[in-house]
């Protein structure tokens, strides 16, 4: 087994990466002194702790081995993410209904089974439910189809 592909080693790397990102983007924040801390004091402190912990986790992982990461199945992850992003892009420009149709369609593609009639039925039920709950019931200021309702 490749030791560098264990869950622990990779999560150690992730913590180090977050620490480095925070240090890089926090450079401009004034550190201040321990009495009068600037906005950068605590973030920097936390970043160094993350670097340290990440390093220790990596070293321990290399010594003890540990569980390998499972192979990622890309389909559900990408479909769900693309679905949400499309929803975000469409919601204000086109309205709830088109955004809903696209989200339900794309995210259903992420599952193992895909039957068009079922997905269409699901869309109809959800569209009615959402309109009733959010637009009529809670009176939220959203348009169902932009420019129409």
């Amino acid at each position: 087994m490749n030791r560098f592909l264990s869950k622990d080693f990779l999560s150690g790397l992730m913590f180090i990466a977050f620490g480095l990102i925070a240090i890089y983007f926090g450079q401009k924040l004034a550190q201040g002194t321990a009495v009068r801390m600037g906005p950068g004091y605590v973030p920097r402190m936390l970043s160094y702790i993350l670097l340290g912990l990440g390093g220790v986790i990596c070293v321990v992982a290399l010594i003890t081995g540990g569980e390998p990461v499972e192979r990622i199945k890309w389909k559900p992850l990408t479909m769900v993410t693309i679905g949400i992003v499309c929803f975000a892009l469409l919601f204000e420009r086109a309205g709830l209904l088109p955004a809903l149709v696209v989200l339900v369609f794309i995210s259903s593609l992420g599952g193992e089974e895909f039957k068009l009639t079922e997905v269409l039925g699901n869309m109809v039920v959800l569209a009615i439910l959402c309109t009733l709950v959010f637009k009529v019931g809670l009176g939220m200021n959203i348009s169902i189809i932009q420019g129409v309702w």
């Binding site: 999560s11 913590f15 801390m37 929803f87 995210s107």
Partner: protein, 500 residues
Amino acid sequence: MELLHNLALGLSVAVSLQNLLYALLGCMVGTLIGVLPGIGPVATIAMLLPITFHLPPTASLIMLAGIYYGAQYGGSTTSILVNLPGEASSVVTCLDGYQMARKGRAGAALSISAVGSFFAGTVGTIIIVIFAEPLTRMAQKFGPADYCSLMALGLVAAVVLASGSVMKAIAMVFLGLLFGLVGTDVNTGAQRFTFDVPELSDGIDFAPIAMGLFGIAEIVVNLERHLTRGGAIKVGSLWPTREEIRRSIPAVLRGTTLGALLGVLPGGGPTLGAFSAYTLEKKLSKNPGEFGKGAVEGVASPEAANNAAAQTSFIPMLTLGIPSNAVMALMVGAMIIQGIQPGPEVMTKKPDLFWGMIVSMWVGNLMLVIINLPMIGMWVKLLTVPYRFLAPAILLFCCIGAYSLQNSTFHVMQVALFGVIGYIFVRLGCEGAPFLLGLVLGPQMEEYFRRAMLLSRGDPMVFLERPISLGLLITTALLLILMALPSIKKAREEAFQEEG
């Protein structure tokens, strides 16, 4: 006598028509998501958080609390009838509950677990009432340094009691703290890690983060796994036999006590309560061989424990403002949305909200017995809805919920981003709960830390000089040392292995 006065006040708030309706709504939603695998109370509360903005403070907290303990009831139903835990806290109920159901005792198992849960919920509520005032009074003496140490203890304890690697969980807490600092620095007005995004200047909203980490990531993992479900077992008579009652009563009592104790601990809560109660019953039993084959104690005790713990886990949040688990972290968020700073002031400044919420939890427990027993058939039918219908629906509600936070699609994008991050966390075996606790406590902890250091003129010894702070820090250190001891480490790993 003041206690009775407070309870009367709470009762008058809790039984108003509006609050009764929201308690009922919360319990129904809670039971629903408890029954449905693949969505838990954390994601649901995060999803509904933006909507509570439209409700009065008391009603919204009553509803969210109802979802939390309602999920404990609902989770047990599916454990017993189809051997599928709806919630993590009812995993152990599967062991003996499903076996009882196969022997034709499903109805008895359901009613014992519902009545046991109700009893435990009642005791939990009484414990909150008794301890709320003294704890609040104690908390009012806390200075900034003490608060900082208390939060450190809370975070460390949460890590220790959570499953998985301690080191990774601690790193997750720090990562959460770091994310919590995004936004405008309160003291200087400097923009931190906002990348010129105006939506980030008020701080990072944790509702979309919670939705991403606990909702979206969970959906993705479930879609990969392809959930399958067996048929439900017929319920039959709800009446337990005399023998079953005789054996359940002491088990319920023990489960309630253990659950109530473990619920108060940071990082404790229903899941830990249920597992410990099951282990205890098995150890105490004269014939441990019966466990796993339909022992009634194995249902009664964990079910009582998870409900008692669900109630008492409100104590640190209500009195100290320190959330002990992810759900409580979101409750803190719900209070902040309503303009209430959680902490000892809530009880003195908003007694109607405080006592109303507590009494409503008892009322809600009573409702749940009714929702769960006579209406059991309806919940069982829901189980036949396939996951491929549920997943898009949950996604949709998350998106709309995130949007309605501030009428901005930025938050929807945030859900997508944290869905991916949450998925990475799951794959790397990093727990989301410590991250969320750190995120929620981050801004406050920095504030107390800076104030304490300012008061002490930059001398970090202040954390060791104040007796309260010192005591808390010593406890924290002891916990960490205990965790490093090989024997305890091994026992802890074994305990969590049973869980997985």
